[in-house]
Amino acid sequence: MAVLDNPGPEAPVEVSHMVRAKRRRGASVLEVFLENKLALAGFVILVIIVLFCFLGPIFYHSNQVSSNLSIANTAPTKGHPLGTDNVGYDVMGRLMVGGQSSLEIGFAAAMLAGLFGVLWGAVSGFFGGVIDAIMMRIVDALLSIPVLFVLLLMAAIIKVNQLNLTLAVAFFAWLVPARLIRGETLTLRTREYIQAVKGMGGGAGRSIFAHIIPNAIGTIVVNITFQVADAILALAALGYLGFGIPPPAANWGAMLSQGVTYIYAGEWWLIYPVGILIILTVMALNFIGDALRDAFDVRLQGR
């Protein structure tokens, strides 16, 4: 009776209970993530690299616009802590500029691919039937085309610049998230809460945007992490095959492939700093992705 007489505090308690449950889920994801030492290391490394690339140029000034052949290929000195490259750009400054472009292309392509892939997969999985069959066969067809082949083909046809590279990488990167989210949607759409949305007259848009996508967020985040790493590696491969960004723009892949032509001249500063940065970035992203997957995967917890 007392409870009925005084329902006032009851409602807020209910709400705060739900909020707490939600927060606890977020906290447990964070907890599992932080427990993984490799992931923590990866996260710290990634933050340092991002700061180096984007804030570095504020403190470290170097001419990255015009070349200076009179100082080409000089070994590290006081003025150039990592030496200069084959046309006289300061390598340290170039690492920052190139890193900006590599990271920007990687993240932008992964985000774009994630966004499009999620929409495609969710729509395909939610509607099912003929729509699903058609949409997924398109994904299958694109997936079976060798990515590097088509990237090379595109590079031969279109002008290579940052925007085009991003779009080209994203064009193939959306396929995997589309498949993953479609699989997730197939199981989610039979859940009671989706049935409830339908029962209350909610449309497909509401089911997809308010329920299915938020529930699939773990899969999406994990996949985007791996996509960024793969994009950076794909850029390196493209750079090696001769389709990097033309100077004065730069990215790590183009720098490394340019540098390895001096592998026998003993000019290590053109190869190792940028190579190690690529490895560290890709590794850090993979560590983070792995840990996030474990963190979002409830089944693996407590093992």
């Binding site: 490799l38 066969r137 398109i138 299958d140 067809a141 694109l142 997936l143 079976s144 085309i145 060798p146 590097l148 082949f149 088509v150 090379l152 083909l153 590079a155 031969a156 046809i157 790493a229 590696l233 390196a236 491969a237 090696y240 095959l241 001769g242 892949g253 490394l256 492939s257 390895v260 592998i263 026998y264 190869i271 190579g275 690529i278 490895i279 560290l280 890709v282 590794m283 993979n286 560590f287 093992r303």
Partner: protein
């Protein structure tokens, strides 16, 4: 099966569209920018490019079905001949690499699973991550710098030969390219093997086997292996296109005359008929690889059926 056919038809359509996206059309790509309008017209009529889009596509399909993959005007040979020459060499290189990858990665993954979260597992995990994160061309060039230039043990290039027999007769020159591909492959495969083995070791049937008094070796290889190897079967199926089309990067680093190098040379010379034909062929291999993986999956795991 039916799905595979639909996908192949879609892929052929996509490559056909790509052919039409070429700046100036196929005629300009083949005859060059200075071609006269009359020779372009002649070329278009001869190849059926003056017809509407869909009849052209059907014409293209008809030629494909009869085994005509197009003609390389740069190398002055039918693409089919080029493929017949380079495909066995690519298959030999990638096949060797895949063989070593599998026989090393499976035991390695199982070992890591057994030693989970111990220092040696961490060390091996870190190593495999480095292998995975390293751009392949850099790995290849480092191996050349170390084994060929510094130690002078091995030749820096792959066998320079026109036939697969030539490649087989020069095993020393194959070591570095195979090593490059194998290192990358192990980094990739052992991760999957490790997590699959970990997942299986936590299952009830392993506990039952242990309770029966089966030895560690018996548990791992008699009970767990067949179940844990399933993801590797899928990965192997996905490796089929690489097996047949070669590895573009490794082949160009070591100048190994396989399909990958053929493709790369074709991008350099803008040999569009070759590029598109190879893209289509590799895509078909991919579809076949997926199909083979499905079938192999069923042979390894009798519980799976596709009825």
């Amino acid at each position: 099966m039916g799905q595979a056919i639909v996908v192949v038809i879609l892929v052929s359509f996509l490559t056909f569209v790509l052919l039409h996206l070429l700046p100036g059309g196929a005629a300009r790509a083949v005859l060059g920018v200075r071609a006269s309008p009359s020779s372009i017209r002649q070329f278009n009529v001869a190849n059926g490019y003056n017809r509407p889009f869909f009849p052209q596509y059907l014409f293209y399909l008809d030629r494909l079905i009869h085994g005509n993959l197009g003609y390389s005007y740069k190398l002055n040979e039918p693409v089919r001949t080029l493929l017949a020459m380079d495909l066995p060499k690519s298959a030999y290189l990638s096949g060797l690499a895949l063989f070593f990858t599998v026989i090393i990665a499976i035991p390695l993954g199982i070992y890591q699973a057994v030693r989970r979260n111990k220092p040696d597992d961490y060390a091996l995990t870190s190593l495999s991550f480095i292998g995975y994160s390293m751009p392949t061309f850099w790995l290849g060039l480092l191996l050349i710098a170390f084994f060929a230039v510094f130690l002078k043990w091995l030749p820096p290039t792959a066998p320079q030969t026109a036939t697969v027999g030539g490649a087989i007769s020069d095993p020393k020159a194959m070591i570095l390219p195979v090593m490059t591909l194998t290192i990358v492959g192990i980094a990739f495969f052992s991760r999957y093997m490790r997590s699959s083995a970990i997942e299986n070791l936590a299952q009830d049937y392993i506990r039952t086997a242990r309770a029966k008094g089966v030895t560690q070796k018996g548990v791992l290889f008699g009970h767990m292996l067949r179940n844990a190897v399933l993801p590797i079967v899928t990965l192997l199926g996905l490796s089929v296109p690489a097996l047949l089309s070669g590895n573009l990067i490794t082949e160009s680093v070591f100048n190994y005359p396989g399909v990958g190098l053929l493709f790369w040379t074709a991008t350099q010379t803008r040999d569009y008929p070759t590029l598109l034909a190879l893209t289509l062929v590799v895509a078909i291999f991919t579809v076949l690889g997926n199909l083979i993986a499905d079938i192999a999956y069923r042979i390894v795991d009798r519980r799976v059926s596709y009825v």
